[in-house]
Symmetry: D2
Subunit: 153 residues, 4 copies
Amino acid sequence: MHDAAMDWIPRLDARALGDFMRDRFPPGHFTEGVDPWTIDHVGPGSLSMTLLYRPDFLRPGGTISGPTIMMLVDTAMYLHILSHIGPVELAVTSSLHIDFLRRAPPGDVVATTELLKLGRLLANGRVTVRAAGDPRPVAHATVTYALPATAPT
Amino acid sequence: MHDAAMDWIPRLDARALGDFMRDRFPPGHFTEGVDPWTIDHVGPGSLSMTLLYRPDFLRPGGTISGPTIMMLVDTAMYLHILSHIGPVELAVTSSLHIDFLRRAPPGDVVATTELLKLGRLLANGRVTVRAAGDPRPVAHATVTYALPATAPT
Amino acid sequence: MHDAAMDWIPRLDARALGDFMRDRFPPGHFTEGVDPWTIDHVGPGSLSMTLLYRPDFLRPGGTISGPTIMMLVDTAMYLHILSHIGPVELAVTSSLHIDFLRRAPPGDVVATTELLKLGRLLANGRVTVRAAGDPRPVAHATVTYALPATAPT
Amino acid sequence: MHDAAMDWIPRLDARALGDFMRDRFPPGHFTEGVDPWTIDHVGPGSLSMTLLYRPDFLRPGGTISGPTIMMLVDTAMYLHILSHIGPVELAVTSSLHIDFLRRAPPGDVVATTELLKLGRLLANGRVTVRAAGDPRPVAHATVTYALPATAPT
């Protein structure tokens, strides 16, 4: 996707995105107390972040729960879009499609996002989720975000 | 969908589903301490449940967050399928598609599920989410569950 | 879905929709020569149409092919939206999600659509597809349409 | 996606796939008379094919119609899966999600597929569609196929 024709330049780096989340979201929103994730990479058209393991992410059967993975996907795509349009908190998910491909064992989970389109009103991307250290995808999602009319892009 | 040709009979009622969730899921999984939802109706091919409002379900802008709604959708469909196949905890979400249609104001949120197909390996349903007291859908989802080979159905 | 709160009134009836399709789409677009479908019902928030069977709709195995069903779903939702916003040919599908639930035997296929939201920029609906005379759904889809800025709604 | 951990080896090349389609699908199924597509590449975990332009693929507004693109997506993924599991004609689409990102002008359209998972019962992939010669995606889809129990994989 990283064609020269799509020269997306991030405006916010990992630190600025982390500051934004801490400022605007209540503690305990994503999880209690401390942020359980790290933003690992922010680049043109792609972002990766890691959700740090906690036992309460598990579902019966001892694998990472679906809602936990969906929360990670949605957050990763949200941060990815903000990295490109700036700290516009009112960007909202318009639709999300996810396929769960394999069970994720207890441990950290990594989401890698790719922009497919960054339009004036809508942004589209896809997200691949993997267990840390395993190249096989655990889940794959496509997400559409509605951008507020006031966004600079 | 409730055609005579699809005579789905629930095996578990609201009380049995609530007991199942309390027994098998760790406290704090769905939320801290106490179950923040009620199962309002279990019938042939349909189920409705209410997520009771808590301020930490909000996202910036003061509306119910997307991950909260996805957690509700996934839980409602899971309980719906269990009500029909019995307490088979290893049923897992195979795919989920959700369209967010309107912002949900602070307050309780109601999910109503309908079965579309209950097969041997896969179950399909759709879920309509509304803010309590407002007939307009806040979100609409379709969910596919993979049923374990050991399920009685 | 047909709540009083969503008082959608169709502007175009079945005859007007048929005239629109004949005028604006080239012959052979939907199929060769003659229109192979009938619009059976147009009402507030719902529409149903029938795709009349032709052998070249079959795929190996002797069932109606997936692309045929997707064409029907997309056309039904397009006509449904036009019935409510008027003959605005430039409404375009923004996303489509479909679950194939059962194989459809050779024969007519019926699509029933329901509006979920008719906004200024986007319209959302869901479509249930059945083999004529069988209440069990063959496929279920959700469709998002982007409405041109010039649309009267 | 082309990790060493996922060493998918195609069993059928482009010629064998073309022969399969000509043998098993009726003339006029994909289009009248002659096959309007070429298979450009078959490799481990990826396939690309081109739909050759015909005027009746257009919709009002002069762009390639949605059903045409969905037919291409579904066919490309079907051929991709067959290239890996062999000529098992009864593989059927289980679900398909597509986002239409840009209008495709009159001209050839190229679909590139990537496998995400090739399981015993289900195969998952994603498909990026582009207008020939333009790197920007016109559409992006994820597709799930149900594999017949008799498939060799």
